[in-house]
């Protein structure tokens, strides 16, 4: 193996190009989904509402990874770290400093944006598997860092922190779970709209230019370093908000909830939902929440194997994830309209 250099021909991009219009849903479908999301909790039990809340904030975390990978073409296995930071910032502020929960989330976002932006600096030099390893290191380090002794005063060390669930404000006749669901829904929709607009903006075009061809992008005058770190920052900030929401909903944070397993789940969610297709994030989140339960239901001893088989089934049938189904649906609808 003496050849000093190897030339990779074009067309072997790590992340396939998704045109920006294909990244979102049409207005009609969006409204329908929104209506469903608003209506369903009115007819559901508290536990189901809790699961739906879970669906929303995990969907948000998948969305954040989607902006990073599907948008700017950078891969991260370290999302669990930012998720953990967000959760801890929220929990510590709520419990140790008595800050109201809705003020904690912006702070979590800012802190995570800073962390992501800083982490993006060394990550600039790395790509592909090397970047995966770097982010992986971050993910393995985070639970240990949260357990550190001198932070124990605030974080509660290995034991973690219990978070009080907020009541519905203004005396609204709602259970805590339902209020939290609607609160999460509002936050998630706001961030979804922000993300869609971000990807349609100048910055979004810069992300995608970098994803499709970094060298060409820089030749066109895109500040590659700035936009790559920016993508990391934005993704980390959104992940942090998702983490914060999870801390409030689960009412508990502990270092071992934020291990590499979480990062892998988020990654699977992104693949199942369709890389680069933002609405797919919620489908992906549903996969990572419900499929392990289904697998457990089919066989207790072999739940891991059943999960693996189901995952294989999904990636065989739809290698491009839920996006593929959506495209098929669109084509079908188009045909029906013509007839």
């Amino acid at each position: 193996m003496s050849a000093a250099e190897e030339v990779v021909a074009e067309g072997h991009e790590a992340v396939e190009a998704v045109p920006k219009r294909a990244m979102t849903l049409g207005t009609g479908t969006s409204l329908l989904v929104l209506l469903l999301l608003i209506a369903v909790p009115l007819f559901a039990k508290n536990f189901v509402i809790f699961q739906l809340t879970q669906l929303l904030y995990l969907g948000l975390a998948v969305l954040a990874l989607n902006i990073l990978t599907g948008g700017s073409g950078q891969f991260s296995l370290g999302q669990s770290a930012f998720y953990g930071i967000g959760a801890y910032v929220t929990a510590v502020m709520m419990e140790q400093f008595n800050v109201p929960y809705f003020l904690c989330l912006p702070v979590a976002a800012v802190v995570c944006f800073g962390a992501g932006f800083l982490f993006g600096q060394p990550a600039l030099r790395l790509s592909g598997v090397y970047l995966a390893l770097a982010t992986f290191a971050l993910a393995t380090a985070m639970p240990q860092l949260l357990k550190l002794n001198f932070l124990e005063k605030w974080t509660g060390g290995v034991q973690g922190l219990v978070v009080t669930k907020p009541d519905a404000p203004f005396g609204l006749p709602m259970s805590q779970d339902m209020w939290l669901y609607y609160f999460t829904l509002v936050v998630v929709i706001a961030i979804y709209i922000f993300s869609v607009n971000l990807l349609r903006s100048r910055s979004g075009r810069a992300f995608m230019a970098i994803r499709d061809n970094e060298i060409a992008a820089s030749a066109m005058g895109v500040n590659v370093a700035l936009y790559k770190t920016l993508a990391f920052g934005v993704s980390a900030a959104i992940t942090g908000i998702a983490g914060g929401l999870s801390a409030i909903a689960v009412q508990f944070v502990a270092p071992d909830s934020f291990t590499i397993t979480l990062a892998i789940q988020l990654f699977l969610g992104m693949v199942v939902g369709g890389v680069g297709w933002l609405p797919g994030s919620i489908v992906g989140a549903a996969f990572i929440i419900f499929v392990p339960n289904i697998a457990e239901g089919i066989s207790k001893g072999l739940s891991g194997a059943v999960f693996g088989v189901l995952l294989f089934a999904v990636i065989y049938l739809v290698p491009h994830g839920a996006r593929q189904i959506a495209i098929l649906g669109q084509q079908l609808a188009g045909k029906l309209r013509k007839n």
């Binding site: 190897e6 030339v7 790590a14 290191a137 199942v272 990636i315 065989y316 994830g321």
Partner: protein, 292 residues
């Protein structure tokens, strides 16, 4: 100074484990251009097969050879059945496939052989090596096997027709097809070889970490790290990387205050990343030039 030498020796001993695994990682990376997350689990499964054979009364080396052959065939079968249909799918979908494979193998091994920790024999014995308390004869044997394997691979890739064909198929598939190489089967062969090397690694590691379905989790992470550090394109780099990671890890645990067992891994990884920032293709890797 004696503490330092001892820690370096201990590092070399653990490094041998990582070097073995890293070699398997690099093999498959050469063949398919991906890091196989299920590699460690495949090695674990092979080790269990050899253990089962020994339980049935087959002597160590017999079990070793049969397990090796089964792993080779198994690796090829996994590629043909599970991953060939995904060849055209996006890279990230393939990675999801590896994760699925990981879950399947880990859970099946748990069901077949359960999660209790098992003793695994060593052919080299476990007395101190050359009077040193830090390296046992088993670990010395492990280093020896790794080095032998490396030399064998070097000759295979450098001087045999099939080795050359595999390299060609991995680096320029289009041209390789034009000169009549069956690139699809070369990939399958790569899987088989990686699986067999993984089996060797597993059988050498098992006496140290004990046999159980999760035995490879930690080892694989270090193996990846070692492979990336040494350069994913270079089997030699992978072995050197393995020893370096072992030494790093031990020295960090000894000399940096406040680093317990838990922070060893993050610190080793941080060091590796600092190396990568300076040398993005790893210590011995080829720099890949992209065409616009």
């Amino acid at each position: 100074m004696e503490l330092f030498t001892n820690q370096v020796l201990a590092g070399i001993a653990t490094g041998a484990i990582y070097a073995c695994m890293a070699l398997a990682v690099v093999m498959i990376y050469q063949a398919i251009d991906h890091l196989n997350f299920a590699q460690g689990e495949m090695a674990m499964f092979s080790t269990f097969i050899s253990w089962q054979l020994m339980q049935w009364g087959i002597p160590y080396w017999g079990a070793f050879i049969i397990a090796l052959a089964l792993s080779f065939v198994g690796g090829i079968a996994i590629e043909r059945i599970l991953f060939k249909p995904l060849a055209k799918a996006p890279v990230l979908t393939n990675v999801a496939g590896f994760i699925a494979l990981y879950a399947i193998i880990n859970s099946s091994a748990g069901l077949i052989w359960d999660f209790t920790i098992k003793q695994y024999p060593t052919p080299f014995g476990s007395s101190p090596f050359l009077g040193s308390q830090l390296i046992s004869t088993h670990q010395a044997g492990m280093i020896g096997v790794t080095v032998l394997l490396l030399i064998a691979l070097y000759f295979f890739f450098q001087y045999t027709r099939i080795g050359l064909a595999m390299r060609a198929a991995a680096s320029v598939p289009e041209s390789a097809r034009l000169v009549g190489i069956n690139t699809s089967w070369m990939i399958a062969l790569g899987w088989g070889m990686a699986s067999a090397i993984g089996a060797i690694a597993g059988m050498l590691i098992a006496p140290v970490v004990f046999l159980e379905p999760n035995m490879m989790g930690g080892v694989l992470i270090y193996g990846f790290a070692a492979a990336v550090l040494g350069g994913l394109t270079s089997p030699f780099g992978a072995v050197v990387g393995g020893f370096l990671v072992g030494i790093f890890e031990n020295l960090a645990g000894t000399y940096i205050p406040g680093v317990g067992n838990e922070l060893k891994l993050p610190i080793a990884l941080a060091l590796i990343i600092s190396v990568l920032v300076v040398k993005p293709a790893g210590l011995f890797g080829r720099h890949i030039v992209k065409r616009v």
